[in-house]
């Protein structure tokens, strides 16, 4: 217990906890939306395509996550546009942007003289080195998600559930889709910085899928997903610290265990 208290006296650990908490709020809300719309594949595509922006940023010497952010937003809008306007099948355009982004990233990292960026950091994040500016960004995005979803919940659900009906009703379906695509990609990139690609995918998917087992309405799925990811990521973080394991990997394990337990309880009942 003393050891736990001592842990909280370290600024890096408090920041890591706060980052996990804020990412859980973002991932719970956005992830539930992604899972409900069956868009998990899109978020994987965006996540990987952002690597292209990171490579270009390394090469040109500006902040890598700015590059990743720009690439993520562009690829999200590109997927939305190419499937709704250009008549390319959505899964095809996702696969094209996914591999193109990775290829651009690898090319520019290769071309960058004398500098090999930490690729493990990109895969698994570095939650223990989170800075205060990162926390401010995360807090801002979490607030934005909460505000948008509580003010416009009905319109968002109407569009996500039945886009044709929403169009017939005169809702600005395309605008709402573009805004949500942009928000999804911003949320993903901010979370990549903290959690890494692999953990982002699990944090955006597993808690939402678990909450879906019990909740009947999207807003309840969102609340459930936030709670599940808070529990999963905090306990994963503590396990990582005490057993001296990589935190990204332990969080994925705790989330998966939570999912399996919730699924079994559901089966037994």
């Amino acid at each position: 217990m003393n050891e736990l208290l001592e842990l909280f006296s370290f600024a890096f650990f408090r920041n890591a906890l706060l980052a996990a908490l804020l990412s859980s709020i973002i991932a719970g809300i956005i992830g539930s939306y992604i899972v409900a719309r069956r868009n998990v594949f899109i978020s994987s595509g965006i996540t990987h395509a952002s690597f292209g922006g990171m490579g270009i940023a390394y090469y040109l010497g500006f902040p890598p996550f700015l590059g990743a952010g720009i690439f993520a937003v562009l690829s999200a809008l590109g997927i939305e546009w190419s499937s709704s306007k250009a008549g390319i099948r959505e899964d095809s355009s996702i696969a094209i942007l996914w591999s193109l982004g990775m290829a651009i990233g690898i090319l520019f990292v290769f071309l960058t003289p004398g500098y090999t960026p930490n690729l493990m950091g990109f895969l698994f994040g570095d939650i223990l080195t989170v800075k205060v500016t990162d926390l401010i960004w995360l807090a801002g995005t979490a607030m934005l998600c909460i505000i948008l979803i509580s003010l416009y919940y009905q319109a968002i659900v109407t569009v996500a559930f039945d886009a044709d009906f929403a169009k017939v009703s005169g809702l600005p379906v395309q605008t709402i889709k573009y805004i949500s695509a942009a928000l999804v990609s911003i949320a993903i990139v901010l979370s990549i910085k903290v959690m890494g690609i692999i953990l982002v995918l699990s944090l955006f998917t597993i808690p939402a899928a678990a909450a879906n087992l019990y909740a009947k309405n999207l807003n309840k799925v969102m609340i459930g997903a936030v709670l599940i990811s808070v529990v999963g990521s905090l306990s994963g973080l503590l396990i990582a610290y005490f057993l001296d394991l990589p935190s990204g990997a332990t969080i994925i394990f705790t989330l998966t265990v939570l999912f399996v337990v919730l699924k079994m309880i559901k089966l037994i009942r």
Partner: protein, 246 residues
């Protein structure tokens, strides 16, 4: 009487195949038009043009300022696992008249209660739509179409999943609704709808408007509308084509 919608020489394509040519149709405020035709003949494309979901290649659609459409899509186009309750589905119909930032008001919530009671699902507000049968889901979508008090109700194959007991109720209900609004009803089941619609539009590439609900195989053939006419009503048998050589 002011027309609600006028289609003027519409030519429309779906997935690059031209399926509708030279289509003219006027919908007035108390019409009840049954839209029939073979699969692939363009029934759904016609609806999508009227609903503004696809742009016609040429021709004009003239809509009255007063038109307020209630739309019941085919149930099989809906994601049944989406986490949404019956109440929220019905309530989402209010955006036909509400702006997107508006929140639901008290009258709308009361109207949801009334509509759900009317279709016998009043104890099921918080049931997710995934737990409903096809017929129940169709009734819920009918409520969604009605909550904004439309003056034009558009139904795409409403009798596909509805159980036989509710089917009769549905048709009685549509008859009542027709006193307050125009109805466009797409159906493959010609015999059933002909007894309640006022007029019939046969869609097969073009559109032939038949200003009565009495229709025979001969008329259908002259309209180039090769569908099987199934007779309901007093005589419980199918009216089949004559056998022998064509």
């Amino acid at each position: 009487m002011e027309p609600l919608i006028q289609l003027d020489n519409i030519r429309a394509a779906y997935d690059k195949n031209v399926v509708l040519n030279q289509v003219n149709l006027t919908v007035h405020s108390n019409d009840f038009i049954g839209i029939i035709g073979p699969n692939g003949g363009g029934k759904t494309t016609l609806l999508k043009v009227i609903l503004n979901l696809i742009q016609p290649l040429s021709g004009r659609i003239i809509k009255s300022d007063k038109v307020n459409i209630g739309y019941l899509p085919q149930v099989n186009t809906i994601d049944k696992q989406f986490p949404v309750t019956i109440k929220d589905v019905v309530l989402s119909g209010r955006f036909a008249t509400d702006k997107w930032w508006k929140r639901a008001n008290k009258e709308q919530l009361i109207r949801v209660d009334e509509l759900l009671e009317f279709i016998g699902l009043d104890r099921s507000h918080n049931v997710p739509i995934g737990e409903l049968s096809g017929g129940q889901m169709q009734r819920v979508f009918l409520c969604r179409a009605l909550i904004s008090n439309p003056n034009l109700l558009i139904l795409d194959e409403p009798n596909t999943y509805v159980d036989k007991t509710f089917e009769a109720n549905l048709y009685n209900l549509l008859g009542e609704l027709n006193e307050q609004m125009a109805i466009l009803l797409v159906s493959h089941d010609v015999g059933t709808i002909s007894s309640m619609v006022k007029t019939i539009a046969c869609v097969n590439g073009g559109l032939h408007y038949h200003p009565s609900n009495k229709i025979t195989n001969e008329i259908l053939q002259s309209y180039n509308c090769p569908i099987e006419l199934v007779s309901h009503g007093h005589v419980p048998h199918r009216v089949l084509k004559h056998h022998g050589h064509e």
